[in-house]
Amino acid sequence: MQQRAIRDVLAGLIFVAFGAAFAITAASYEVGSALRMGPGYFPIMVGGLTVFFGVLVIAKGILVGESGEVGEIPWRAIALVLGAVLFFGFTVRGLGLVPAIFVTALMSSFASRTTTLKAGPLIAAGLTILCVLVFVVALRLRLPLFGPWLGA
């Protein structure tokens, strides 16, 4: 395989994987007929098309191969930003808004290499205050500031 085709092949594989996963899962639902479509009909059809176009993307990549390299992948940023979002979802009810926002903001701010050890907590504290003002004071979001995990 040519190095140049790698982006097309990877993209195509994503499409094939998702298309196949949806189509196979949908096959366990009632498919029905064109006249009376069951819940499985449309997803199987679209899943099949997704696989088809995914294969086309791969084929075009290998035959024509016009796209470049994948390039740099910011692993640290990916881990921190996604980790921050997931952390928020997991803990906001238990810890309450203030700690959840603070940690989320802190984690994501360190996703940038330009954030210094001193700046991170400052940014996080500022954002926590801003968010409490906007979402709790102004918009009356009904979530506790400090949650049950902290004994509040």
């Binding site: 009632e30 819940p39 992948i73 940023a77 979002v85 009810r93």
Partner: protein, 501 residues
Amino acid sequence: MDLLGNLALGLSTALTPENLLWCFVGVLLGTLVGVLPGIGPTATIAMLLPITFSFEPVTALIMLAGIYYGAQYGGSTTAILLNLPGESSSAVTAIDGHEMAKRGRAGPALATAAIGSFVAGTVGTLVLVLFAPPLARTALQFGPPENFSLVVLGLVFSIALARGSAIKALAMVMLGLLFGTVGADLATATPRFTFGIRELFSGINFVSVAVGMFGIAEILRNLENERTRSTVVQAVKGLMLTRADARRIVAPVLRGTALGSVLGVLPGGGHILASFASYSVEKRVSKRPETFGHGAIEGVAGPESANNAAAQTSFIPLLTLGLPAHPVMALMVGAFIIQGITPGPNVIREEPALFWGLIVSMWIGNLFLVMLNLPLIGIWVRMIRIRYNVLFPAIVVFAAIGTLSLALNPFDVYAIAFFGILGYALIKLGCEPAPLLLGFVLGPLLEQHLRRALTISQGDPSVFITRPISLVLLIAAALALLFAVLPSIRRKREVVFQEEE
């Protein structure tokens, strides 16, 4: 006709203190995100959508619309002053606008952009007033086969106008359609792809998809290689146009407005296409094409008018057919649905105050923008100094809280992370995210119309080509697809889009 009565109704809706306030807030926020590189209107509207949940429907839509056209406007300021287009549609403005700024003519360039945008915004709103009602009346007569073909046409257009590979865009649409099927099936209430997780029964929240693909994925893109932005800006002096300048911009503004009004209606990012098209038209008709790229005022006037006119008229397919023209409009569909209104031809009849109020507010918003932009130019320029390492944690936190506040469902927050990483991977592999979002929003509609159409026709698929309107729509879709895939046309398109890089 009672056009005047409708406009009066719109005025009385748009001029309530509450609506005026939120219209102002909307265009202010829009200008801000237009100025700030690294955050676009799609992510902003997705994040703020949950907040508008508690508003009156018309107020919510007025504000969200304001963010959108405000951003078109704000993007031109940084394009001219710093050669940093905050929005992709103002990338063309940067070519000659920044050259003018370098020659000490930043003032006239900004004034031209403001005047052009205002004229275009006004005309675009008028076009909306004149063409939306008859189009909505036509669309009301559509049955399921026509509606199915219409959605197909919309999806195909989103491919034709997307950048990059058309096959990848097609695959993205399909992937979006698939994600749209998650949740209870509309007709039989069978849960699909929920894996027994109750939170998934109501489907994937489109705010999560939009925030993930346009907010988080974009942050990850920007963190690939961090550069410090230069923020050296010379003081802007003398906003007044000379008489000669004024004469030079009249025709480009009018041509740009006309071009933008037409192209804006096309699904799939007509406003970006409009500004590029306008630039090449101006260059072609100019008696001095050699001045383009060296500070030709026509190169600012035309594209700026075009993208603003397109921003207004891209509401036409949304308000009359329920068909979103691009990702921002797809979010507007979501905003309608959150408020319990189905966007489409019925809106104008069942919610006349909302329909006309929204339209009139756009003109008022354009007026605000002229007043905001020129006198406050210094403040906007200072905004660019906001460091990205402060901005992006704010986006992450706002995205998470905003999405959570929609239904207090933590699953919606996990979905942001999922679509963030998926979106990032796909964008990195050369796939545009917009077709996926449109597929996701339109998927349930497509399936519903398909089922109904085939039930009516006793399962005979020829119903789509025997009904004349449906046939015409499908032929148009086929032509658009051909246009998108044909290599010779594609190459020309690549050239047009390359200037954006």
